[in-house]
């Protein structure tokens, strides 16, 4: 497994003026953001706000038009392999090789992150148990339900104990019990010295587990802070969802 450098000195995730444009359309405008170690950061916003673009830039799936992204201080564009070695990622629609089994999938991903032998097998068993997919670990991925596939994808992301965990809509397809377990796991992972960046449409979830939340609207970060601070700063009291609706709607037209 990958050894992590001093996690406290530098933010685990840094967006430094990250911008992505497609022709005249700006998907993400000059996003500057630090996510320190120990943080669960929820990126919320309406559809098309730029959440998935931000994640795509951080994971190297998209190239920025301007700006830079860092994972544990490593420039994603300059040293993508080292940056990815510290990253665990769950996309919004996870891909699992259809003819493989969950165990084989985890074995491959574990090996890609440098895991070997009995130690890797123990890690795989632990993650399969943690996400309650041990019973189907010998079934073909193509035969699994959507929720089970999502749990396999989560097990895969946690397998190498990543310093930075990035999850795009991780709760989709999970039952309430699995959602609760994942929330606890994310909090524990962050408390253990990692950073978690997740996008979600579930404002209650963001409010419940995030230490910090950022609201993206039309590619711009319009608010950022702890859910409680955001609620206070809005001047309305109320829940995060009220803040979200106020800011996402923009200035009221007369």
């Amino acid at each position: 497994m990958v050894s992590t450098p001093d996690r406290t000195a530098i933010p685990s995730i840094r967006f430094d003026g990250a911008t992505k444009t497609y022709g005249r359309k700006t998907a993400l405008a000059c996003l500057t953001l630090d996510v320190p170690t120990g943080t669960v950061f929820a990126l919320v916003g309406p559809n098309g706000a730029g959440k998935t673009t931000a994640i795509g830039l951080l994971t190297g799936l998209l190239a920025p038009t301007a700006g830079r992204m860092f994972v544990c201080g490593i420039d994603v564009a300059r040293d993508p392999v080292a940056a990815k070695a510290r990253l665990g990622f769950v996309p919004d629609r996870p891909y699992l090789w259809p003819k493989w089994t969950p165990r084989e999938t985890l074995r491959f991903v574990g090996a890609a992150f440098g895991g070997r032998g009995a130690q890797l097998e123990r890690r795989i068993d632990a993650e399969l148990d943690a996400f309650d997919v041990a019973e189907v670990s010998s079934e073909r991925n193509e035969t699994l339900s959507h929720g089970t596939r999502q749990r396999v994808a989560l097990a895969q992301a946690f397998l190498h104990d990543p310093s930075v965990l990035v999850l795009d809509e991780p709760m989709v397809g999970l039952d309430p019990l699995a959602q609760r377990r994942l929330s606890e796991r994310l909090r524990a992972h962050a408390a253990g010295g990692a950073a978690v960046l997740l996008t979600t449409h579930q404002l209650a979830l963001a409010e419940e587990i995030a230490t910090t939340a950022g609201l993206l609207v039309e590619g711009r970060l319009v608010a950022c802070g702890s859910p409680r601070n955001l609620e206070t700063a809005s001047g309305r009291g109320g829940a995060l969802s009220d803040v979200f609706f106020d800011l996402a709607r923009g200035p009221q037209k007369p």
């Binding site: 497609y22 359309k25 070695a85 074995r107």
Partner: protein, 550 residues
């Protein structure tokens, strides 16, 4: 990483073969048996040809077997080069840009160059498979016929590997450059069209060289003498010619043939490794720009016409589904080639005898309708299954399924009838049979062109497979093959309806009198039944049957 990936993939393949359901296992066993049968037939054919040519060459001492062999191998290696290039071009666009697993692999800590190289190997394996299937039996036959079998095999296999690697490298580079210019999905359509057209041009070119001359002893002797006396030209920069020269020398027992073969292999390896090394940045750039999750580039929005009627919307939507099918351009390229080849063949037939013209006109009508059957199997039979999960939504719309079936048929029947009439009409122009035969042929072609898509749309809707991975797997299902059998039967019947000669022959055999007009009426009635019955049954089934999609 690769070891785990390979072992996982091997286990998955084993599971597919051994642990699948009975039907899946049967399909795999049938596939393996078909491969073995193909290899056996090719081996037997090549051995027979080898014996015959040895006997013939014994009587023609002025001919140099080495010259003939080198020319034959030159043609074979050039074909391998072209097939490998076109195959790699099409496959590489899928493996490098459109494969679902790229998303999973891109976020793992591998150098991007390695990922491109891995996809390049996958492309090479997939694109080379047809060539290897054809060439391995030939290599074995040639090696065993050689005085030094091991040397002979190596002399053939080494330059073949070089040629395939060079073709793969060129195909990969072309795919990367093509996707730089047009988006991946459009590039795949373009590449498929180029491949189909390339193969079609090769087929037409081969046909235009009039290989039938070899069936005429005098002409065959003249051709073989020309090819077997003059030394083949210097290979220059042509890799296929170098491969042919190397293989010829090796097969004739000269170990010196290995050197140019090995040089070709090294050139192929260098080219193959050079492309990912030189172009991985370009790949990363294009991949990032075309990533499916990213927002679409701003462009002029095409609004399309306003809705005026439900029928118009249904027709336009169905036509768009058909025209945007990834296989359509390739199928059109192949169809054009088959059409040209067919006309070239028809022109060669003796035209003086009216009876022969009548018979051929009937056969040509049947052939046209068989082509329509094949196209319908691919494009009409899966039309309902291709809805996939959208079928769940369609079922809940206030839309009569019979009306939608009718639109599905209209969209496919119009081009099918056009194809049938064009193919039959062109044959009639070349053949010039009796007027009545021509009229019957055109009527049968029109009826078949309208009926066969209806039969396929109807049967496809009666046995839908919404969860099938693609349209081809739907077409090759048991229901699809049943539809093909029925429409082929109709095509055969059209031959009898058109040709008076066949009617006389059949009447004599059955000791009955077959009248052309009642036969045509019967054909039209049967055709109408074959179109209407499945459509009606399917309409009822789509309305009432339970629908469940995994």
């Amino acid at each position: 990483m690769n070891a785990v990936f390979r072992s996982n993939s091997a286990r998955a393949m084993g599971r597919t073969i051994l642990a699948g359901d009975a039907r899946g296992r049967l399909a795999v066993i049938a596939g393996l048996l078909a491969l073995l049968a193909f290899a056996g037939l090719e081996t037997a054919g090549l051995e027979g040809a080898l014996r015959a040519s040895r006997a013939a060459l014994g009587e023609l001492p002025e001919l140099r077997p080495a010259f003939l062999l080198e020319r034959l191998l030159g043609f074979a290696f050039a074909a391998a080069l072209a097939l490998g290039f076109l195959g790699s071009l099409t496959t590489a666009i899928s493996t490098l840009f459109l494969s679902d697993e790229l998303g999973a692999l891109c976020v793992l800590p591998f150098a991007h160059r390695r990922l491109v190289l891995r996809q390049a190997f996958l492309t090479l394996a997939l694109a080379s498979a047809p060539t290897l299937l054809l060439s391995i039996p030939a290599l074995l036959v040639a090696a065993f016929a050689s005085s030094r079998p091991v040397l002979g095999f190596a002399a053939g296999a080494v330059p073949l590997a070089g040629v395939l690697l060079l073709a793969g490298a060129a195909g990969l580079a072309a795919a990367l450059l093509l996707v730089r210019l047009v988006p991946p999905r459009r590039a795949r359509l373009l590449a498929a069209f180029l491949s189909a057209t390339g193969l079609a041009v090769a087929l037409v070119g081969f046909r235009a060289a009039r290989p039938e001359r070899l069936l005429d002893p005098v002409e065959a002797l003249s051709v073989v003498t020309r090819l077997g006396v003059v030394h083949p030209a210097s290979p220059g920069l042509d890799p296929a010619a170098w491969a042919a020269r190397a293989a010829t020398r090796g097969l004739l027992g000269d170990p010196g043939g290995l050197a140019p073969g090995a040089a070709l292999l090294f050139a192929g390896l260098a080219g193959f490794f050079l492309v990912p090394a030189a172009l991985w940045r370009l790949h990363l750039h294009v991949l990032q720009e075309s990533w499916p999750g990213s927002a679409a580039p701003a462009g002029r929005a095409h609004r399309g016409p306003e809705v005026r009627s439900l029928g118009g919307v249904l027709f336009r939507s169905e036509a768009a589904s058909l025209l945007r099918d990834a296989s359509t351009p390739a199928q059109l390229g192949s169809l054009a080639a088959v059409f040209l080849l067919d006309l070239m063949n028809v022109r060669l037939l003796p035209a003086a005898d009216a009876a022969q013209r009548d018979l051929v006109a009937g056969l040509q009508t049947g052939l046209s309708l068989f082509l329509v059957s094949a196209l319908s199997l691919r494009f009409a039979y899966p039309s309902v299954s291709s809805d996939g999960r959208a079928a769940l939504v369609l079922r809940t719309l206030p839309l009569d399924p019979r009306r939608q079936l009718l639109v599905r048929w209209e969209v496919r029947a119009l081009p099918a009838a056009g194809v049938a009439l064009a193919l039959t009409g062109a044959s009639l122009l070349v053949l010039r049979p009796e007027r009545m035969t021509s009229a019957f042929a055109l009527v049968a072609a029109l009826a078949g062109g309208l009926v066969i898509p209806a039969l396929h749309v109807g049967l496809g809707a009666l046995f839908p497979r919404y969860d099938a991975p693609n349209a081809v797997s739907v077409a090759l299902s048991t229901g699809g093959l049943f539809a093909l059998v029925l429409s082929t039967g109709l095509s055969l019947l059209s031959t009898l309806v058109v040709s008076a000669e066949l009617q006389t022959l059949l009447g004599t055999l059955l000791r009955i009198r077959i009248e052309p007009w009642p036969l045509m009426a019967g054909f039209l009635l049967l055709a109408a039944g074959a179109a209407i019955t499945p459509l009606m049954l399917a309409g009822r089934s789509l309305e009432r049957r339970d629908i469940s999609i995994g």
